[in-house]
Symmetry: C2
Subunit: 378 residues, 2 copies
């Protein structure tokens, strides 16, 4: 069974139609994966996720390691059985969360503890996540308990979770880090990538490497070359960057990645970014944005996003989007959704989540059609 196959190349860009085959089913790419952070797509059932049109989901190793614990999930079978999602699952490695959440400092990446920094400069952060060559010691954002992730333990945890595609443990470097730190961090990520390859025992899982290198062209290229040459089944592109920077980074990186393996742009989910990334040869996306916006009453539509909480919607009999065929738009109007959010009814978050995921699922469908028909993408 071939893991990945490029089915068709787009005439006007580097976009491609692809097919990923896993033991739990296929993923037609380019694909967006909704995020089941803690083994649940917020408010929705697995059946609904399937109905919306998603073939695969992504779940977070860091969160599942802390709650309920990867050993408990292993005891119960695996993540598929645990949450009753029979389709393909990707788990990230926990690297990003260890850095961004472990700190507990307002979810900001970019505050990674550099051991070279003097202790007095570091202050409280030193207590929350400490990186060394062997791994990361961090503090749980839930109860302050201490934990340690290494490349080897991250792979073990992901093997216990049993996803179809797993990721190497990397250091997600801050976009604010200077050249020297970014280079050192990248070299550590490269060493960790090799250790992950060695640590991996299960054959049923595909392992993806991660390209880092921050916002520096030569580092990004060096990272893509190094990681791209290792025998991974696919590649993630990590880091955090602004819009223009993302496009630049992809332009630097993609030429060095083998064209016969899938590429996942980690954590990116804005519609414009997805289009630009697909054109540059990205196959997989994941992002909490559509579901997070939904829980705050913000709906995605072809005309842009809008907040249903505005008083102008109080007596609006129209659906969120008149061309949308999702259950929410077919059954409820803006006035009712406005009311549900005003009164903090759980049903509001649920109906909004369904709509936003439906919207992005149709968006990806259209992108795949555009590639197939050699039209302009998006």
């Amino acid at each position: 069974m071939e893991f990945f196959k490029v089915l068709k190349k787009h005439k006007h860009s580097k976009a491609r139609l692809g097919l990923i085959k896993t033991a739990h089913g296929n993923i037609h790419t380019p694909a967006f994966l909704p995020v089941a952070t803690k083994a649940a797509i917020k408010s929705l059932s697995p059946e609904e996720i399937k109905k919306i049109g998603f073939e695969a989901i992504l779940s977070n190793t860091y969160h599942l390691y802390l709650q309920p614990g990867s050993k408990i999930i292993k005891k119960l079978g695996d993540l598929h059985k645990f949450m009753n999602w029979p389709g393909p699952i990707i788990t990230d490695s926990g690297g990003f969360q260890v850095f961004s959440l472990g700190f507990g400092l307002k979810d900001k990446v970019g505050k990674i503890l550099n051991k070279n920094i003097q202790e007095e400069q570091v202050g409280q952060q030193a207590k929350l996540a400490r990186i060394d060559q062997a791994g990361v010691t961090f503090t749980s954002h839930l109860d302050g308990s201490h934990h340690r992730f290494t490349p080897e333990s991250s792979i073990k945890i992901q093997e216990d979770l049993g996803a179809d595609i797993i990721f190497v443990f990397d250091e997600c470097t801050s976009p604010l880090a200077n050249y020297d730190y970014t280079q050192k961090s990248m070299e550590r990520t490269h060493q960790w990538a090799q250790r992950c390859l060695k640590a991996k025992k299960r054959n049923k899982q595909a392992l993806f490497g991660i390209v880092q290198g921050g916002l520096f062209k030569d580092l990004r290229q060096a990272s893509a070359k190094f990681i791209g040459d290792l025998p991974f089944d696919g590649f993630g592109i990590g880091g955090s960057f602004g819009k223009g920077e993302m496009k630049k980074a992809l332009d630097w990186v993609i030429p060095y990645l083998p064209s016969n393996k899938p590429r996942h742009l980690l954590g990116i989910g804005y519609l414009d970014d997805i289009k630009e990334a697909v054109k540059r040869g990205i196959d997989l996306f994941d992002c909490v944005q559509p579901t997070r916006l939904a829980r705050h009453g913000t709906f995605l539509t072809a005309q842009g996003k809008f907040s249903i909480l505005k008083s102008v919607y109080q007596t609006d009999k129209k659906p969120i989007s008149k061309n949308c065929s999702c259950d929410t738009c077919q059954n409820f109007n803006r006035a009712y959704l406005h009311h549900l959010f005003k009164t903090k009814e759980i049903l509001g978050a649920r109906l909004a989540t369904f709509h936003n995921l439906w919207f992005i699922s149709r968006f990806m469908e259209k992108i795949r059609r555009d590639i197939k028909e050699d039209k302009n993408i998006g």
Copy 2:
């Protein structure tokens, strides 16, 4: 069209099978109505409520009057259209909520302001709900704004909401009130009942009277006689009482209510209470208990209720109830539900609500079957 028909009487008790016909469909009685307090059954869609087997729901006039406002619902059609529930709807009159919530004093009934009480005894309560012969002036639990309900305004609001069955505006007397106060309150409720009958303009809505009288036999009987003689389409039995007291009150009241009209025991939903009340001739029930318990992780089963939060369920592969055919029990095990509640995932509340309502829907089905087959009830 006959509004209510007794289809069969039970051989061993006063229970009966009945059929209520409304413009929005039929209700087979004895029936339990899930409560859509603010025009939504917490976390569930109308489609699911139907799938669970409910033919009718109950919604709260007080809450809808405050949010979004009955005039807004009227502008949007009616409550059916607003929340997309095509089946029968009952609205209560707002009387109970004005007293229990208006006070804002920990949801306790039993603290009704008696104008005869000296101002210094009353303290802060005077600011929150003040009863006079014409109606009640109360303070919103949401924003502290002032409002006034009268029998006439309650009927007008319920006409704007457009439910199929509406209730008279009554004073829900505290079980702690003395004989004198309970009598005066009951007499006021009787006057208000007559005023409601006069105020009602729409023919499509059935109007139910409410029997009060607290825990006093002669008052309960007098109230049942008085209200039972008025040309209502059905009757609610109001008040708040302990278990033994509920049975006694029903025994006192039911003989005075016309047997060809439906009887609704307001706000009661414990399984044992439902059985006892059905045996005494009650046809309709509503209660927030099954849905409220669900949101706190408590599941109803034939073996009693239990909290999924207990650590013993962390690795339990069994469904909530092995004989339950609900979507929750068919698809998810206790370990996963435990995890969802531990991590405060919305999906947990939703799956628990579905199960608890499914359970009570099957419970009512069994009661109707028992009456049909002249078996012991429950």
